[in-house]
């Protein structure tokens, strides 16, 4: 096993860096620095730039536009994008629904949707969570009744990120209420322009609008939009939830935050000299760097193991999710601590420097240990799948 990049990987990293330097606009970069939110136009534009280069969906099979990279290279690519920072790819499209269609979709669905996903022609959102089904996802209630060539969908989804921009939503719906809860679920692709769909924004405590409620009132969905088999949706969902392997730890994001912390502490006076010169602060910084370095190696180990087992996800990847989210939160809190009294100001006021977003970001990032399988769920996975408890 190699825990350092080899010459080929270093050359690849240089290539990625050079491409980003040449193509990422200052406006996109500033957009990322200022907020944690996706900016619709930037995401689309950047995805198209990458796609043109052949890097839009590098993790997909080559026949559908993939780059044929090793997991390590994919991780280098992701980390460099995060470090830049470049607009994040829309994971619901390229990491979630794309791979599900590739694996389980019909030939017709593949031809219809995949090229448009790769080029960001369609914006996808995810209809999984419901108000009464949080960590217990399988207890979802939104139902789809088969009538002729259509499914009639009724119910409500929540925590739907960026539904306000979405052209399509992929949904888990209950198609058989009479069987065990995991057994009666199907996976539907729904055009957001279909009558009967209402999107209601949910404002988060940082003042942002990222998530939404989506209501379905007798929404007619053509049967051809069913992915795979009816009542097999839970299997596809499990595949999807374990599919976004290379980006669980979000190392580049935390590294970029620590870099900012150094910069900010260097220009923040405390007791008459820069905070960065204080031993106590340097100790906190060093302690976080050690944990992050450890996670970086752990990620390389998980990726190497997956490289050898042809992509079967390692349950150890739950470590990446737990530790990765803890470090994102710890680094965002470190920035708040650096600001000290300046952390009190709300973002929507006159201070447009990125540092004014720090507290809002800390608030918003409480979500990273909640969404996408809470850390409690991850620890239960470790206890059961790895430790056999």
């Amino acid at each position: 096993m190699e825990l350092q990049f080899n010459a080929d990987e270093i050359a690849f990293r240089e290539e990625v860096r050079a491409f980003i330097a040449d193509n990422l606009t200052e406006e996109m970069k500033q957009g990322m620095l200022r907020g944690g939110y996706l900016i619709r136009d930037h995401v689309i534009e950047w995805q198209r730039i990458l796609n043109k280069k052949g890097w839009g969906v590098p993790h997909w099979p080559v026949e559908w536009g993939g780059a044929g990279w090793s997991p390590i290279k994919q991780s280098i690519f992701t980390e460099e994008l995060q470090l830049a920072p470049a607009p994040r790819p829309l994971s619901f499209s390229v990491y979630m629904v794309g791979p599900v269609i590739i694996e389980f979709g019909s030939e017709c669905q593949k031809k219809r949707f995949l090229p448009r996903i790769a080029n960001s022609d369609d914006w996808w959102c995810q209809g999984f969570s419901e108000p009464d089904a949080g960590s217990d996802l399988a207890s979802l209630k939104t139902n789809a009744r088969h009538e002729g060539d259509y499914y009639i969908v009724n119910g409500q989804k929540t925590w739907t990120s960026y539904a306000q921009y979405a052209d399509w939503i992929f949904c888990l719906v209950r198609t058989d209420p009479t069987v065990k809860k995991q057994m009666g679920i199907s996976f539907l692709l729904i055009d957001m322009k279909t009558p009967g769909i209402t999107v209601r924004p949910i404002q988060t405590i940082d003042g942002g609008h990222e998530v939404n409620e989506v209501f379905f009132d007798n929404v007619k969905v053509p049967s051809e939009n069913l992915v795979g088999e009816e009542n097999k949706g839970w299997d596809y969902a499990k595949f999807l939830l374990s599919a976004e392997r290379v980006n669980l730890a979000r190392l580049g994001v935390s590294k970029e935050r620590l870099q900012r912390a150094r910069e900010l502490a260097a220009r923040t006076p405390y007791q008459g000299r820069p905070l960065l010169e204080h031993d106590g602060f340097r100790t906190k910084l060093a302690a976080l760097e050690v944990e992050l370095k450890a996670l970086e190696i752990t990620q390389l180990r998980v990726l190497s193991a997956e490289g050898q087992s042809h992509g079967v996800p390692d349950p150890a990847s739950s470590i990446l999710k737990v530790k990765g989210s803890e470090l994102q939160q710890a680094t965002s809190n470190l920035l708040v601590q650096i600001l000290g009294p300046d952390a009190l100001r709300r973002q929507d006021d006159a201070f447009d420097d990125w540092s004014s977003m720090i507290t809002a970001n800390y608030f918003n990032w409480r979500k990273v240990s909640i969404f996408g399988g809470s850390n409690e769920i991850q620890k239960t996975i470790i206890a059961k799948s790895i430790l056999g408890l």
Partner: protein, 372 residues
């Protein structure tokens, strides 16, 4: 009074009321403020000599905890505790008559304008200058994050009248009308919805009678009022934490996942118990700070309030973050209460120095247990 306050807040400070107060100018409720005056809340810490009720720091503690439970928006801390603390320590008889009386009857909002940007950790660093010429003082400088600066009828401004930029000696306090020309107030909201202002003071002239306390003697007064304020902030945080913890426990009982209330899961039970321990430890230290803020020994006061702020900071972070985690998604939504309590705790943690700062202060003192 405690009961009146509790009833008043229960009646008029439900979560949707709070939204309304925050949305309208001045960002809090003048009606509530009038009721505060009516039940004597504004008079509480002032001496009876000056029309007050001779309340002790423990009385203030009890009030602040109540206010914290409803994350109220009114300028009680800034006007009554902080600016009031300056007045109680240094105002002349005439100033008590012209200022304190109106504060007590609710007709005058006073804010302390002391902090400047980039002075964290150096409380005596004052860049604002005041120069005497005859019977007038000319003040120039910039103040930052003045609580409720936009609703203040009077500002108490600290300015350097002698000495080097960080000297403890040489700071003087002035009562200044914020509507003076040459005062520019830029206001904004804090993360908890409270208002604050940055204030630019360009060669403002005030008479000698505007001095609060003696020339060059302001820092002693500021520091002493800051200790009182810190104790009050600790009590407020305890109120916020108590309420948030209770909300969380209620939610654990009611929210079902996998067919049972999530409060049945032992991991969450033990974490809720850890939160409770953190809450009670914080409550103890808030009490300690309140009691000790009457001590004679300045070092003892400083140690007590710093150690209280350390404990409050630690407990607030644990309780705030754990509560949001246990609420899950709704914990981070604007329309739900819990997230606002979490934000308030985050603010209180940073206000007047976070835990690391106060720990740093403690390291330079004697131990907390130097034999009694």
């Amino acid at each position: 009074m405690q009961d009146s306050l509790m009833r008043l807040l229960q009646r008029s400070y439900a979560f949707d009321h709070r939204w309304k107060y925050e949305a309208a100018t001045p960002g809090w409720s003048r009606e509530i403020w009038a009721q505060f005056a009516e039940i004597g809340l504004l008079a509480l810490p002032f001496t009876s000599e000056n029309g007050g009720l001779d309340g002790t720091p423990v009385d203030t503690m009890i009030v602040m905890e109540q206010l914290g439970r409803h994350i109220t928006l009114e300028p009680y801390l800034s006007t009554i505790v902080m600016a009031g603390g300056i007045l109680r320590r240094a105002a002349s008889t005439e100033q008590h008559e012209s200022i304190s009386t109106k504060v007590i009857d609710g007709s005058l909002i006073v804010s302390l304008a002391h902090t400047e940007r980039g002075t964290f950790g150096s409380p005596s660093r004052v860049g604002t200058q005041a120069v005497r010429s005859g019977d007038l003082w000319q003040i120039s400088g910039h103040k930052s994050c003045v609580l409720h600066g936009d609703s203040a009828d009077l500002l108490i401004i600290s300015a350097r009248t002698s000495g080097a930029p960080s000297d403890a000696k040489g700071i003087t306090l002035f009562a200044v009308d914020p509507r003076a020309t040459n005062i520019n107030i830029q206001s904004y909201a804090l993360h908890d919805g409270q208002r604050a202002s940055d204030i630019q003071i360009n060669s403002v002239l005030v008479p000698h009678s505007a001095l609060i306390g003696c020339v060059d003697d302001g820092f002693r007064i500021l520091q002493s009022a800051e200790y009182e304020t810190l104790a009050a902030v600790c009590a407020e945080a305890v109120g916020v934490m108590s309420e948030l913890h209770q909300m969380t426990v209620d939610y654990l009982k009611q929210r079902k996942q996998f067919g049972v209330p999530i409060g049945n899961f032992q991991a969450l039970q033990h974490r809720a118990a850890d939160m409770y321990i953190a809450l009670e430890q914080a409550r103890s230290m808030a009490m300690y700070a309140a009691m000790m803020s009457q001590a004679d020994d300045k070092t003892a006061i400083a140690q007590a309030v710093s150690s209280a702020k350390v404990q409050i900071g630690r407990s607030a972070k644990l309780i705030g973050e754990e509560a949001v985690q246990m609420f899950g998604g709704i914990g981070v939504t604007m329309e739900f209460k819990a997230g606002h309590y979490f934000k308030k705790l985050t603010l209180l943690e940073q206000f007047l120095g976070h835990a690391d700062h106060h720990l740093e202060l403690l390291t330079s003192g004697p131990g907390l247990f130097e034999l009694e």
